[in-house]
Amino acid sequence: MHLTWTAEDEEFRAELRAFLAEHAPGKPPKDAAGRLAREKAWAATKFDHGWAGPSWPKAVGGMELSFSRQVIYQEEMTAARVPSHPGVGINMVGPTLITHGTPAQRERYIRPMLRAEELWAQAFSEPEAGSDLPSLRTTARRDGDFYVVNGQKVWNSRAELADMFFALVRTGTQESRDKGISYLLIDAHAPGVTVRPLRDMTGAEHFAEIFFDDVLVPVGNRVGEENGGWRIARTTLGHERAADALNQAAFYERIVGELIALARERGAAADPVQRDQLADFAIRARIMQVNAIRTISTIMTSDEPGPTSSISRLYNSTFEQQLHVFATDLLGGYGVLAPQDPNAVQRGRWTWGMLGTRASTIGAGTAEIQRNTIAEQVLGLPRDPAMPSRQ
């Protein structure tokens, strides 16, 4: 079970490997600041050598790779264990600027974005606008050449590191819902911006809250039309996420291997009931790999992602949640320890995972919203008449 590549594709792989062999950074340092510096330096190295933005147009400094080469690109980057880009959501804001931004916006923002000179964070969700994002309440009142922004955003990963936010704000009436939303690029260091870390249920601070208090944003930082932000917020370029599908599957395959090792260590692999479950996880991980290959093959032959692409998030998130619960059960009595306890098995990683993967079926669209989307967009089931319609 594998994908086959043309000789030209293999040549591309060899070039990429040569670049990685020469430039890939060494082992990550222990401290957070050192790790961030390493991530930024690597993003700059990639850009300066023409290896950044695999799906982005050459005109903005991207590589404009064919889909098959994007798959190879992701494969090799993962295999080389190089750091990922430190900016959050650059594959959301980047394509949005490329498709809907002005030449001045592209000129100003894309290069520093790819080089990680400026870090970005997403500012969409609000305390009262989660799954129902079109009900968001952060307002942007027009005042001459500026918008005056007031409101609160939440669940913003790495917002405390960000230099820029891409945000959805209300420029129309509250009742206009998705037809009264604009897309703004907001300077994270502007007066009136407060970022406060948010402690999540794992005990860590992966996310933050952002408060806007009379923050002035130049009108030139609006992307697209006023009140036209909703439609462009989900712009993507090609199938960047699908190109990474095989890596995700390989990642889970590795986790299953580690789970099996854990089960052996704890004497559970020989128990028929536990063994049956282990086999089930191993089977599902391998099917995830075939789903990924099918998605990639379908895009390559028809340029359409096909049904396996739409189910993958639901499949993968449910899978990793169940896997970590099972792993915690395998720990027996040790499952009651906090991950920080010195006696926690494998430094508490399975417990961290059990806690952390609760977010898998919530973040970036809850599993329930995904099921609605699959039902309506893939299966063609009718819309819920009680739900407000969207553009």
Partner: protein, 377 residues
Amino acid sequence: MDFAFTPEQEELRSSLRRFFAGKSPTSEVRRVSETADGYDPLLWKQMAEQLELQGLVIPEEYGGSGFTAVELSVVFEEMGRALVCAPYFSSVALAAQVLLAVGDDEAKARWLPGIADGSLIATVAVTEDDGAWGLEHVLASAVPAGDSWVLDGAKTFVVDGHLAGLLLVVARNDQGLGVFAVEGDQPGLTRTPLSVLDFTRKLARVEFNAVPARRISPDGDATAALSRGLDAALAALAAEQAGGAARCLEMAVDYAKTRVQFGRPIGSFQAIKHKCADMLVAVESAKSAAYYAAWSAADAAGGVADGGELAVAAALAKAYCSDAYFQVAAENIQIHGGIGYTWEHDAHLYFRRAKSSQLLFGGPQRHRSRFAELVGI
């Protein structure tokens, strides 16, 4: 590119879909399933003559057209969708695959052409009265008698065992397991049709009382080669399950779009949407599992790989597709509500097929256990 169907394979799929929709609608499935033989000889003949389906994967030198397990999986997916009543699984997936995997040249030359042109219905008899599917449970015995052998024992849950003109029987001799060919008219052979849960697939108990047989497997123990043949059959069965599951999802979605309660189509309620979305996850993943097994079977048959990956893929696919089909067939009834519980509605035909095929050739747990062993869990 691997793992995408070629335009020719897609063309095969759509022509089969048209063919079975025309020739084997569920009204016809119900009629044929109530006959004693359980298949329609006219349809069987058309499958052989118009579409050459029986000979699809049989090599050209034995009268077939030499396609691969990938094309075969397309056929099974489509037949699974349509619930076609025909001795196709027994003859083409079981008997032909076992003949190809273990049979000597003479045996292949003698029986494969008949299977390929549809004139010979054949099957494989493995399981015995304890109902266990593992080859290690085989007790039937074969004793040499001059140039041939004599079989004693009983086999049950033999697919199309009530009418097969050729039975390939797994029996034990002093060298281990062997495969023995028994033609349907041999003395000492008693067949008893079973009354079955899934009446679209007939099963029989077959007794062998000093039945003369010909050994088709080479000297020594045939377990490894036989497993390869049976794994290829499991890959076909998994494709059939994926096809049946896909059809159940379609039935459920079509109904949910048109059935109105509380003044709106029930498919507009999230409770129904979420079920259908979960069914799609199961259906697409079952297809992935089945295609993985089909590709592995093709690689094994083509000599690209040994049977190692096929064994893993067959166990994986049989375990996953069995559970997925059952889940989707059960939810299909639930989404249909009262009408889905009636005899007249087709939902129970699929539900019966799903449960029966889940248990035939070993249930999901058995295959997960085998998978665990093969991948070293």
